[in-house]
Symmetry: C2
DNA sequence: CCTCCTCGGTTACCGTTGGTTACCTGGTCG
DNA sequence: CGACCAGGTAACCAACGGTAACCGAGGAGG
């Protein structure tokens, strides 16, 4: 008998309890789905360091990003309330992006992850490349 | 693979300096490419908590995972030296997986991320669902 | 005896999604 | 006349993830 009901007996309620990382609404999964995007971590870091930046400037500081992906990523972060978008109705219009407090709070665990990556990834990549 | 033209001005050397998060060999990007996988965080957490588990047991504790993805994920983690695979040549053969010290060290920043997710994601998801 | 199930996978196939390039707007500055 | 600003839209492709089938050995049930 295969229990596909996530092991939780009779609990249709999704309360996203702490510790139950395997619930359908697992917050960690949702978070990783977002910050796992190719540009998210980069943009968050850039904004965390630079404060407020306008679109073209942010694009310049994100080598390799296309306009579409930058816009798309920023929209997503806006929806998540991690960045704010501020438009100055000048001519030409200037659009500024900056992190919200929530965005800054995300940058903290993200910084821990960055540090781990910078410490350990080179070794991993090294071993990996010669092992395979 | 990741050797695409990042506007890198003739720099075949990849030294992965700290602080240069935008180099082609950006360690944070590489890390996110790995742990961003759908099952990686889940498996690392499970192994971090349970210690050593055999394949079928790990599969049971990872609701929704297919044999293919579990194997594939574990192989990747093996290549990264985050988990070790131990085979007991009994009949039937038993295969055990556990975290390496490196894997455990990764679990620490990952735990910070989990905590952030559990704290803030519900609010984000809530706002997101009613905003769009 | 015969069949089903478990263990630990591998392989083939297939759909969705993420990311990319290319091309469009439309106003302004030099 | 062009480039720059801040994007939008369309088409395309590879990778990620899922399903299904298969493997060989052994144990359980009828």
């Amino acid at each position: 008998m295969e229990d596909r009901t996530f092991g939780t007996p009779g609990h249709p309620e999704v309360t996203s309890r702490r510790g139950d990382l395997f619930s359908p609404a697992c917050p960690t999964r949702q978070l990783l789905d977002r910050i796992g995007g190719k540009w998210v971590a980069m943009i968050v870091k850039t904004l965390a360091e630079a404060g407020e930046l306008r679109y073209a400037e942010l694009k310049r500081r994100t080598p390799g990003v296309s306009a579409k992906m930058l816009t798309q990523t920023l929209r997503g972060l806006e929806d998540d309330q991690l960045v704010t978008r501020r438009v100055e109705a000048t001519i030409p219009p200037a659009v500024f992006y900056s992190l919200t407090p929530l965005g800054h709070s995300l940058d903290e665990p993200l910084a821990a992850l960055r540090e781990w990556a910078e410490t350990h990834m080179p070794h991993i990549a090294d071993h990996r490349s010669r092992a395979r």
